[in-house]
């Protein structure tokens, strides 16, 4: 709380009279974000989740750099070894160290998950928001395009993109975005349509606030919570889709790996060497858990209606 007081003191500043600002009903956005951050920090679970994801990211960055084993070093003397002090997560069927591979895979999975989820959310919200807010003809056209895009099987698009750009992480992300933003757009459109008839938007309109301002100041904060919940779902979605593509054999080029590929290779060994499945599965699950709890915390923190309820 002491910290808080300090902040408040810094915030106060004599600004003088400003007619236009007095008339407008916007509030300083800085304090909205700061308030959200404060509330996020107060949420212990969300905070712990954030730390966990942070740790994973750090491990993903540093473990492959400093390990004595390479992620692609095969060794016929060390096939399918169980967890030991030499190999913290054991080795896989061609003698590669799984500790290194898990963190090498984390780079790919987390990278693909975050980048594509964020881009999906941004593109989807923009399109969905515009479609929902303006309605009418714009909405019609956009929705028709979305319907068509949605009907085109993701698999075909993915294969096409992967082949045109060459199999790899970038093409995978692009493929995921091309397929992925549509869901967000539909969802955001629904929310915006619901919101735009609400009273506070009507009030803002009556006061002559510009469309852009309405979207940024009123609609966005109100849908942001749901978008973020959605985004947090999109991260596992992206990781899943990557895993699915690996499952049908369309993932990234070997010997590069991802959690999905490790889990897939492990699933085949379930009956013989279960640890090869459970280790990558644990990381997929714990990441999802953390993402979801963090997402929940963020949602609560960003919800303007929950401001000051704590």
């Amino acid at each position: 709380m002491a910290e808080l007081k300090h902040e408040k003191n810094d915030d106060f500043e004599i600004v003088g009279k400003n007619i236009t600002q007095m008339e407008s009903i916007t509030r300083p956005s800085l304090s909205y974000w700061r308030d959200a951050w404060r509330r996020l920090m107060l949420n212990k679970i969300a905070f712990a989740s954030m730390i966990l994801i942070g740790i994973y990211i750090l491990l993903a960055v540093f473990v492959p750099l400093f390990s004595k084993y390479g992620y692609a070093d095969v060794d016929s003397e060390k096939m399918n070894l169980f967890i030991s002090s030499q190999h913290w997560f054991g080795t896989d069927s061609i003698g590669r160290d799984l500790w290194v591979r898990v963190w090498r895979g984390a780079r790919v999975s987390l990278g693909i998950g975050f980048i594509s989820a964020v881009l999906n959310a941004v593109i989807g919200s923009l399109v969905g928001g515009v479609s929902g807010f303006y309605g009418g003809r714009v909405d019609m056209v956009i929705m028709r395009i979305i319907d068509v895009l949605y009907g085109i099987p993701a698999l075909i698009v993915t294969i096409l993109v992967m082949v045109v750009l060459g199999s790899g992480i970038n093409s995978l992300i692009i493929a995921l975005i091309i397929v992925g933003w549509i869901g967000t757009a539909r969802f955001v459109r629904g929310e915006v349509m619901r919101l735009k008839d609400s009273d506070f938007i009507a009030a803002a309109k009556i006061l002559g606030v510009k469309d852009f301002q309405i979207i940024v100041r009123h609609i966005l904060p109100n849908v942001l919570g749901l978008i973020i919940t959605n985004l947090m779902m999109a991260v596992p979605n992206a990781i899943f889709r990557e895993a699915f593509l690996s499952y049908i054999g369309l993932g990234i080029a070997p010997p590069e790996c991802s959690w999905g590929i490790l889990a897939k290779e492990g699933a085949k060994m379930l009956r013989v060497y279960p640890y090869q499945l459970f280790i990558p599965a644990f990381f997929i699950c714990s990441t999802m858990l953390a993402m979801n709890l963090f997402g929940d915390g963020l949602r609560d923190a960003l919800d303007p209606k929950l401001r000051g309820t704590e």
């Binding site: 692609a72 070093d73 095969v74 069927s93 061609i94 082949v163 049908i248 070997p254 010997p255 009956r271």
Partner: protein, 548 residues
């Protein structure tokens, strides 16, 4: 608190009513499915039933269009050719006996009195029709090449000659004469394949495109009839009482389930739902009882010898000597498959015994020969004018199958380590891989051959300069000459000797990098006897199987 529970109860009720609403429609369907299932089982109590699984559905049961090994296996059991090949040995089939002319170009077959499953007589005309149907461009059979030995076959397929000019003629109902374009001692093997099974013109015309699409849309000349074919689910065979040798057939019914996941099939075997299963290589360690047999397929690194380092013979030999095949097999298949140190599968027919027995040969050592590899590499680098091996980067094309991916990863590591060259893996979908391979757009690709008939030529023919299957720009005069000699000699021994020499010449030129011969591990229920495996014509043979 009580109110909240009311809400929950209501919500729950809603869910239950939803479930109640939507199940009946599907229930009807399900009940009928269950009935079918149990029906079979209750009958099966008295009958002798053999159950096994395959990983993918058959593509077609139209004999002449048949184009893959599962179709071949089903065909093998539901039909019969002039000859029947069993474990690579030719036995009389629907032809009781035959004569071959001196020059090896004319075959005269005498048919036995046999009937189709619908009771009609099997005539020589049906065989003539079948052979013509294979090569007819209108049939568009992917396996049209299989009839190549018959006179004019290739020209008819290419559309330059009329179908009637094919070298086959039914002299009368029981006599068939085949004229070959060149002496092909393996012709008797070829005609045992399902493409050459007698086919009824009246049925083909009656059903058109749908011919053989269902059990009742064809008739059967073999030990079993196709009773039911539920796509991607199951194929049911029943004993064919009209089969000429039906007395020797013990099974009443065969259920072939289509189970894509090998681990699922294994689980079903353990649950007693299957009598026979192939164990996935990763799980073999857990099943000491598993019996091994060769699948007949050979894998190798196909090299595009058109240009670059791979056009250099010494470089190709460096690859061959640098690869530790023992290590490769251990890593990629857990020591289950067999390392290949020569090109031709030793189990194909030779002159007296198998090819391997008649012509033992080890082209490359099992383990790497570091010294030789370095020698060849250094010579190659000099010839190519490249300073260091690390300046060479080769692309290894691989399909997206789990197995081929693993092989590529192992090869990348092993070859990179042994020779100091860089290998980049390019993983693409299978269909794409085949196309790029056939267009010659690759440097190295892990490819394989499953011989259509057990003769060395199945392996060797694709590297002849003029071969339509030569997709690697390979051209070596000495090799071409040997193959031509083998094609045109009428003497069986001389032919085999020449083919063995051709293999040697090809290997000494480093034409490709042989990797492995595929093996299968099988588990068979104690109740079942007499199920055998072979690699050509069928993968599993249960004609004479019995169930206790």
């Amino acid at each position: 608190m009580r109110k909240r529970w009311t809400a929950l109860f209501l919500a729950g009720l809603m869910a239950v009513s939803m479930a109640g609403c939507s199940t009946p429609g599907s229930n009807v369907e399900n009940e009928s499915k269950t009935e079918e299932g149990t029906d079979g089982e209750t009958e099966g109590g008295e009958q002798k039933v053999f159950r096994y699984s395959v990983t993918s559905d058959v593509s077609t049961l139209d004999p002449q269009k048949n184009n893959e090994s599962t179709s071949g296996t089903i065909g093998y059991h539901t039909g019969e050719g002039l000859t029947r090949s069993m474990d690579g040995v030719v036995h009389p089939g629907l032809a009781e006996e035959w004569e071959v002319s001196e020059d090896g170009l004319t075959y005269t077959f005498h048919l036995r009195d046999a009937k189709y499953s619908d009771g009609e007589k099997i005539t020589a005309q049906d065989f003539e029709y079948a052979m013509k149907r294979i090569v007819d461009p209108k049939t568009a059979s992917q396996f049209a090449f299989i009839a190549k030995p018959l006179e004019n076959a290739d020209e008819i397929t290419a559309g330059t000659k009329d179908v009637d000019e094919l070298g086959v003629e039914a002299v009368d109902d029981n006599t068939l004469v085949c004229k070959l374009g060149f002496p092909a001692p393996y012709f008797l093997q070829v005609i045992s394949m399902s493409q050459f099974y007698p086919t009824r013109e009246d049925l083909v015309e009656k059903y058109g495109e749908e011919f053989a699409a269902d059990g009742d849309k064809n008739v059967y000349s073999g030990p079993f009839c196709l009773k039911e074919w539920k796509q991607n689910d199951r194929i049911i065979l029943e004993k064919n009482p009209m089969y000429w040798d039906a007395d020797k057939v013990n099974l009443d019914r065969v259920e072939i389930l289509i189970v894509a996941d090998e681990n699922t099939a294994l689980a079903m075997y353990e649950a007693g739902e299957l009598d026979y299963v192939n164990v996935p290589t990763d799980a073999v360690a857990n099943y000491p009882d598993a019996e091994f047999y060769k699948m007949g397929a050979e894998d190798f690194i196909k090299l595009n010898t058109g240009d670059g380092p791979l056009a250099n013979k010494n470089f190709r030999l460096a690859l061959n000597y640098g690869l530790d095949r023992k290590e490769f097999i251990k890593l990629s298949t857990n020591d289950i498959w067999e390392p290949a140190t020569r090109f031709v599968l030793p189990d194909v027919g030779g002159f007296e015994g198998t090819f391997g027995e008649d012509y033992p040969y080890e082209a490359f050592p099992l383990e790497e020969d570091q010294k030789k590899a370095e020698e060849y590499l250094n010579t190659a680098l000099k010839e190519l004018g490249i300073a260091s091996a690390s300046d060479i980067t080769l692309e290894l094309l691989t399909s997206d199958l789990e197995r081929t991916k693993k092989e590529a990863e192992v090869l990348q590591a092993l070859l990179g380590e042994a020779l100091g060259i860089n290998i980049s893996i390019s993983m693409i979908p299978f269909a794409d891989r085949v196309e790029r391979e056939n267009k010659g757009e690759y440097e190295m690709v892990v490819s394989g051959i499953l011989p259509d008939y057990p003769d060395p030529i199945s392996f060797l023919e694709s590297w002849e300069t003029t071969s339509p299957y030569n997709h690697c720009n390979y051209s070596y005069e000495e090799y071409d000459n040997l193959l031509q000699k083998a094609y045109h000699t009428g003497d069986a021994k001389e032919r085999m000797d020449t083919l063995a020499e051709a293999e040697k010449v090809f290997m000494e030129d480093g034409g490709l990098v042989p990797l492995q011969f595929r093996m299968n591990a099988r588990l068979v229920s104690d109740k079942v006897t007499g199920v055998t495996n072979y690699f050509s014509g069928y993968s599993i043979n249960f004609i004479y199987a019995d169930v206790k």
